[in-house]
Assembly symmetry: C2
Homo-oligomer: 328 residues x 2
């Protein structure tokens, strides 16, 4: 019997689909095309109603904004210094009000206005539920960030705190897990804004490029944390044949972030934070910490392939991976 997608799980599905592409082609956040004068980076992300957004927590404007932000985040995490634009495939039932579609496109326009690029084209169709599939195109700068180019001895650096998007969702859903905890108002508004209007960190990439110590070559590992901090670290390790030691006290958390459960779990695996997770030579990591407020070193790449452990007691870090297909 052939397994269902829910039985396979997302990771195994992606592994099987990778066999239909050239070897290594699907290892990274984006595909890279052409050589001269500036290689093109391409990325596709799909947002599905009920999975990636819902009317209860995401208005139309934010759906459009997030579809663009998720794609541009992948481009930033691959080294894109400019954005050409996007194509948009929109599927929605015929009963969908035009005002919703207009809101989505207003959100798309707002995100493009802020980060560059235009709507290049697209397609639309009716369908039983709403979804957006966005493909973004951008141009590579001097540094191609790959998962496979992390090296033992590198410092792991995050461009910003993690768990905020997950907290924002919990706040919007009145999650009972929050009832016992007192959160300051600034953390709450930061979390909701991170969930509804995440920023692709093209700004962080620019800082990274401009602060490289002159004696170092253009080599760094990188990915974004759209699937969570831990998944990003594991992706760097598995593509580069390395391991990682994370410092529990240095996890990239927002100011005022509580301790204990679910807070550490949300920081490690909440997902949708869209920060850059970089693997850098120590001197470059030092320079970036000076140049980019809010960035945080939180561990080291090791030569112990596949081992992702806490540095204080060498214990393995539990996997909190999420299988989208288990729901359907």
């Amino acid at each position: 019997m052939t397994p269902t997608l829910a039985e396979l799980g997302e990771a195994e599905l992606l592994k099987r689909l990778a066999r239909f592409a050239p070897p290594g082609q699907l290892d990274d956040d984006t595909a890279c095309l052409g050589a001269d004068p500036r290689p093109l980076l391409v990325n596709t992300d799909v947002l599905v109603d009920g999975i990636h957004f819902s009317d209860a927590t995401t208005d139309a404007h934010d759906v459009g904004w997030r579809a663009v932000a998720a794609n541009l985040s992948d481009l930033a995490a691959s080294g894109a210094v400019s954005i050409d634009g996007i194509t948009v495939a929109l599927v929605a039932p015929g009963t969908t009000p035009w005002s919703w579609v207009e809101g989505v496109y207003n959100g798309i326009s707002a995100a493009l206005q802020q980060h560059g690029g235009t709507v290049l084209g697209g397609d639309c169709s009716s369908g039983v539920s709403r979804l957006l599939s966005v493909t973004a195109l951008g141009r590579l700068g001097p540094l191609q960030l790959l998962r496979s180019t992390a090296q033992p001895g590198d410092v792991l650096v995050s461009s910003g705190p993690h768990g905020l998007s997950r907290l924002g969702l919990a706040l919007l859903q009145n999650d009972p897990q929050l009832q016992a905890t007192c959160l300051n108002a600034s953390l709450q508004s930061q979390a909701i804004s991170q969930h509804q209007r995440p920023r692709p960190r093209l700004d962080a990439l620019h800082q990274l490029l401009s602060c490289k110590p002159a004696h170092l070559p253009w080599r760094a590992g990188g990915t974004d944390s759209s699937d969570g901090l831990l998944t990003a670290v594991r992706g760097l390790c598995s593509s580069s044949g390395t391991g990682a030691r994370l410092d529990r006290k240095l996890l990239p958390k927002a100011h005022g972030w509580p301790d204990g459960d679910p807070w550490e779990r949300w920081c490690l695996a909440g997902g949708e934070d869209f920060e850059l997770i970089l693997s850098l030579p120590a001197a470059w990591a030092d320079a970036l910490e000076q140049a980019l407020p809010g960035c945080q070193r939180f561990g080291r790449i090791t030569n112990n392939a596949g081992s992702v452990i806490w540095s204080d007691d060498n214990s393995p870090i539990m996997d909190e991976g999420f299988n989208h297909f288990a729901q359907g």
Copy 2:
């Protein structure tokens, strides 16, 4: 009150969405990026279960094949002489068997193997129904085919017959409209194959490029007929501010195609035939008829903006446009 998408209809929806892109950006089958050395063409098409395919008439392999063919047809109709590859967004319920997904990707691979390009990347997600959103990237040759570059006096040429895909669907569905008609076996198998494994006419584009009379500049109008022959002609006319006169006796029909209803209607508006509809100077049309077996001249571009008429009696040709959103 805001209208629903069904109330708006597809044409009005596309018109409203075009306001979110630069002026003219969404007029053509593809977007064109960059200038040197070879401009990039980009296109996105979405295929939705129950709208563009169904288990009853399209097996998994053919779903993948058609998703690629539809995209590459748009690239061919814009002047792409080579294909870089595609990104694929796949949405399916968790209950979907892996064998279906594998079949889709086998179909994708088969189409790419035949026409060039690789799977560059993509995304997948669960969702309540199956769909594929494919973005294809290719390189422009010496001639950019635009809808807006048709000119009065041009000859309208089709790269092949129309209505076959619609007939193929009717055959697969045992459509009662077919009961009164005797069809030869060759026409039947041609129709089913056109419906299940349509060919993007990259070959026809190559013939067009290689037969241009030396004294003519690189200028022609063009689009593909994925939405039907008549819609393609109307698209050329509206983007170029022209009209058209079609010769009823020269409509591009397959050998053995019956007369009367629904046959003429299917030829004009059946859709999904993926042929090139070209607007060419007469000498170039002559050369193409010599070079490309099966191609057919069927009318002329006129300066009577927006008027699409039969040449024998000057009567307007009825619109058989299809509104995808009316169903949902």
